[in-house]
């Protein structure tokens, strides 16, 4: 039977059950690798698999759950040795019964970035080795199972799609909370795996049939009626005394009965189940057909997600517009400098303001946009759980962003131009993204509603032809500015209404453009936004920090009945005090920190604010000083003396780390004001010297390094921060590229001191004249010297002192 027929044939196909316990019963020791048995005792493996085939399993898994190069590393075997042997065992067992053989692939046992250090591409490469070996050995399909990290599942699915044409089943393990260990929801799993081309999704392991059932019901509701789903539960829950699982074959069969209503295409067992369990399932599913009645299914939902946050675009959904450098010099400078902290601050502020999705645009002339897009997506996803809208017209930039994105994003945008559709729609299909189509083409934006709708239809049809589901197609009828094209405003709204009603698509608008060139923009924005919502707007790209706009959306939800009993509106506004009525924030007290030398004259408020760690007051004082003084003067005469006082008191034991850090954070806010001023004036910020910082290869403890970075920046140094787990070669490459003459390295563990030593040696060999300072808990001055470092800094204060003395000595 060809494997794809599995998905259509009447009655669920039975899958096999647990193998681990049967192997242990046959003498496999704790901690021994079952995959080796494919070579050392193939008869044992084959006999277990044959029992499952005899019990009615139509699919037999190969004994390859942990057959990755990583997990086999200490066995002396490779995937290329183990996997063909394993497939051969399963084929021999399956052949007499006409069963299919699935290449079984489990997680790599290591967390991906940002939680761990494994990169997505390294994971894809690992999985690809296994899948190539399995496909070459004649596996009929691929079974990805027991995944708990959606990002790792994405890596595995990409590897399958890029390596072979076999059908692939994707299975994750959930906790009773309805999430995996990494926080992934059932709906995020369904949307992401389906988008990435899984032929079926399901659950295995961790729970018994009774516990998985409510999750399976959610899964069935999250996919189309004809999309295949399956389950392979454990034999109940583990017994507390460690003696196995708590239900037998009869109870298992009984607990599987409710699944008859879910239209499973396959069912089986996982840990603790045996051929006896599988045999009884035959009866349970007698007369059942896969698939769910179309009539019972809710209309397809338009979903955007990250693992932990699944946004159902049903009514007005707020997309934060602020990660966009257009017309913002400070933002453009940040992108040119690779300053992700600036981008992250925008992301966090918009998330806090209530955005549901964030638009990400990093297009700046002269910048490597594909690299910037990848960096931005990775950085934002490391601090923020909202889905992203990747905003670019550059297919290479979109692909880099789509590849590293964790979840199901939306691409903004394509338009009616055939070349654009041809370049971008296949990317959306491959990476499972929703897509925005702009109603313009090579001839520009049509004035008339009907012409815009015609382009929208063309885009919709092209997207459907590319395999993108209808619920993932969004149309942007384009907001034109009221000041320049007043007569077109209503055409946009007419076109929006028409697209929504006649094409069955979702709609998008960048709302704020309406008011460009007119005063009091929020008034116009709010009015237009309200009209657009009335016309059927789904995704509203706005500034979520504008309370007027957020209030308009909240009010619309009440008036349209979406916010039942006004619950959300009440929660948001019950205690609301309008801004005009609110008291102005109290200015920071000007009194000096206890024991500190008071600043004098015009710098006094600023000094006091830094010393006290008052972020808002420091920023305000800085803005005031910049009215009359040059940025560098403010740094030299205001900021640095204040930090010196704090540092001095810290050294004397009068202030402690929290105060030092708060002062540093206040100085950070001052620097942000200064950077903005410099960028707006188009000038270059005159730095005090370039320093490259890194936490060495193998070490991920970077909090100390991060503190050093902030303090060095506060003192006006240009810091290139390479992050953690940085290979020596990357440090050298960065030193050569930036021309830095001072490198700071950190390591927290004794085990990574060797890595620090290697990094120092390589820097000295490849970058003559470059000086290295080191720090970290286990280092001592003498050890630092022994491994070749020129300087040892016991804390961030000392690192700044060293840097100051170093660059002063260099004549800077």
């Amino acid at each position: 039977m060809p494997a794809r027929e599995l998905f259509n044939k009447p009655g669920p196909s039975l899958r096999d059950g647990g193998v681990g316990a049967m192997l242990q019963a046959a003498g496999l020791g704790l901690g021994q690798k079952p995959e080796l048995l494919n070579l050392t005792d193939p008869q044992l493996i084959e006999s277990i698999q044959a029992r499952y085939a005899a019990a009615g399993s139509r699919v037999i898994n190969s004994n390859t759950f942990g057959a990755s190069a990583k997990k086999l590393a200490d066995t002396g075997y490779t995937p290329e040795q183990i996997i063909p042997a394993a497939i051969a065992c399963a084929k021999r067992a399956a052949a007499p019964y006409g069963a299919l053989v699935a290449l079984d692939v489990g997680p790599l046992g290591e967390l991906l970035e940002p939680a761990g250090t494994l990169t997505l591409e390294a994971a894809v490469a690992e999985f690809a080795r296994q899948i190539r070996a399995g496909a070459a050995a004649g596996a009929d399909l691929v079974f990805l199972e027991t995944f708990t990290d959606l990002y790792e599942l994405k890596a595995a699915l990409l590897a399958v799609k890029e390596t072979c044409d076999l059908p692939v089943l994707a299975s994750m393990s959930f906790e009773p909370s309805g999430r995996t260990f990494t926080g992934c929801t059932v709906e995020s799993f369904a949307a992401t795996a389906r988008g990435l081309g899984a032929d079926a999704v399901g659950f295995n392991c961790s729970l018994g049939p009774a516990e998985i059932f409510p999750l399976a019901r959610r899964l069935a509701a999250a996919v189309p009626a004809d999309y295949p789903i399956f389950v392979k539960p454990n034999a109940g829950l583990p017994r507390a005394d460690g003696s196995g699982y708590d239900i037998g074959p009869q109870t298992f069969a009984l607990q599987m009965k409710p699944y008859r209503t879910l239209g499973l295409f396959a069912a089986g067992g996982c840990c603790g189940t045996t051929p006896e369990f599988i045999g009884l399932l035959n009866k349970v599913f007698e007369g059942c057909a896969p698939g769910r009645p179309q009539a019972q299914q809710r209309p397809a939902q338009s979903v955007l997600c990250t693992p932990v946050s699944c946004v159902n675009v049903d009514g007005v959904t707020i997309v934060g517009e602020r990660i966009n450098p257009t017309g913002k010099k400070r933002f453009q400078q940040a992108i040119r400098d690779g300053d992700m902290d600036y981008v992250l601050a925008q992301a966090v502020a918009q998330a806090d303001a209530g955005a549901a999705v964030l638009d990400v645009n990093v297009g700046v002339p002269g910048v490597d946009e594909p690299a910037a897009m990848e960096a931005a997506v990775r950085a934002i996803q490391s601090v923020c759980e909202l889905p992203l809208q990747l905003d670019s017209t550059n297919p290479a930039a979109l692909e880099r962003g789509l590849r590293v994105y964790n979840g199901k994003p939306i691409v903004n945008s394509v338009n009616g131009e055939q070349a654009v559709l041809d370049a971008i729609l296949p990317l959306c299909k491959k990476y499972g993204a929703a897509v925005v189509g702009l109603t313009l083409d090579e001839h520009g934006i049509p004035k008339q509603t009907q012409q815009r709708v015609a382009i929208a239809r063309r885009i919709r049809d092209a997207a459907l032809a590319a395999g993108i589901p209808p619920e993932d197609i969004y149309i942007d009828c384009l907001t034109l500015t009221a000041s320049a094209q007043q007569e077109d405003v209503m055409e946009t709204l007419k076109a929006l209404r028409e697209c929504k009603q006649t094409l069955g698509v979702r709609t998008v608008l960048g709302v704020s453009n309406i008011s460009f060139g007119l005063p009091c923009r929020p008034f116009l924005n709010t009015a237009f936004f309200t009209l657009a919502m009335g016309a059927g707007l789904d995704l509203a790209i706005i500034n979520p920090s504008s309370e007027e706009m957020m209030a308009a959306a909240a009010a619309f939800d009440v008036l349209s009945g979406r916010d039942r009993q006004s619950a959300r509106y009440i929660a948001r506004y019950a205690d609301y005090v309008p801004a005009a009525a609110a008291r102005p924030a109290a200015p920071g007290p000007a009194a000096p920190a206890s024991g500190g030398a008071p600043g004098r004259g015009e710098y006094a408020p600023r000094l006091a604010a830094v010393q006290k760690g008052l972020r808002a007051a420091t920023a305000a004082a800085t803005r005031g000083l910049l009215q009359t003084k040059a940025p560098l003067q403010v740094v030299d005469e205001g900021l640095i003396p204040a930090l010196d006082i704090v540092g001095d008191q810290y050294e004397k034991g009068r202030l402690f780390l929290p105060q030092l850090l708060q002062a540093a954070a206040a100085a950070q806010s001052a620097f942000e004001v200064i950077r903005t001023a410099v960028a707006e004036s188009g000038g270059e910020q005159g730095g005090k010297g370039r320093i490259v910082l890194a936490t060495v290869k193998g070490d991920v403890h970077d909090i100390g390094k991060n503190i050093v970075k902030v303090i060095l920046e506060n003192y006006g140094f240009d810091v290139t921060d390479l992050g953690r787990d940085v290979p020596p070669e990357q440090v050298v490459e960065t030193v050569q590229r930036t021309g830095a003459r001072l490198v700071g390295l950190s390591a927290l563990m004794t085990t990574t001191l060797k890595s620090m030593e290697q990094t120092i040696a390589l820097v000295h060999a490849k970058c003559p004249g470059c000086t290295v300072m080191v720090g970290g808990a286990v280092l001592t001055p003498s050890y630092a010297k022994a491994i070749g470092a020129e300087y040892y800094a016991k804390d961030a204060k000392q690192a700044a002192d060293i840097a100051k003395a170093f660059y002063a000595g260099q004549g800077e």
Binding site: L111, P114, A115, T182, G613, L661, G698
Partner: protein, 166 residues
């Protein structure tokens, strides 16, 4: 299980014990994200969030240890305090074996990286000795400790286990 008993300090800690209990606890990867998020543009919040999360992870391990102690006390047995890789000379190199024996990846989502660090970051593994006689264990192992020369506790004449210097 010889592989578990690396170094002098764990042997000293488990002296007089016939059995051992292994323990793992984690705050999960979303705690790591919360720490990173707290640190955006504010290094003070970063340090505070990181320290608070460490304290919370320790508290989770404390709770697990307390539950174990109650269970073993009820059976008339004694437990030492918990001992983790990285204490004294007990090397991080035992993490892969500890995690394999605990099946921590499957049961808890805790995995070991290439340099034997646990991920998610705020995770703890530990060994507790079991004995029929009252035992306390010896947590501090200053003699072999990597932080011996820079330790803030030692400068004050204390140890991280609340004992006098040994």
């Amino acid at each position: 299980m010889q592989g578990l008993l690396q170094g002098a300090d764990i042997r000293r800690h488990l002296a007089g014990c016939s059995h051992a209990v292994l323990l793992a606890a984690t705050l999960g990867p979303r705690a790591d994200l919360a720490i990173r998020r707290a640190g955006v543009g504010d290094v003070a919040r970063l340090a505070a969030a990181d320290a608070a999360a460490s304290a919370l992870a320790e508290a989770a391990a404390d709770a697990a240890e307390a539950a174990l102690r109650q269970e073993f006390t009820a059976r008339g047995l004694y437990l030492t305090g918990r001992y983790s890789p990285g204490y004294g000379d007990y090397p991080l190199a035992v993490q892969p074996l500890l995690c394999t024996l605990l099946d921590s990846a499957r049961l808890l989502g805790v995995t070991v990286g290439p340099t034997n660090l646990l991920t998610p970051r705020k995770s703890i593994t530990a060994v507790l000795g079991v004995s029929e006689q009252p035992v306390r264990g010896h947590r501090a192992g200053c003699a072999h400790c990597a932080l011996r020369e820079t330790c803030e506790y030692r400068k004050r004449g204390q140890t991280c286990a609340g004992e006098g210097i040994v």
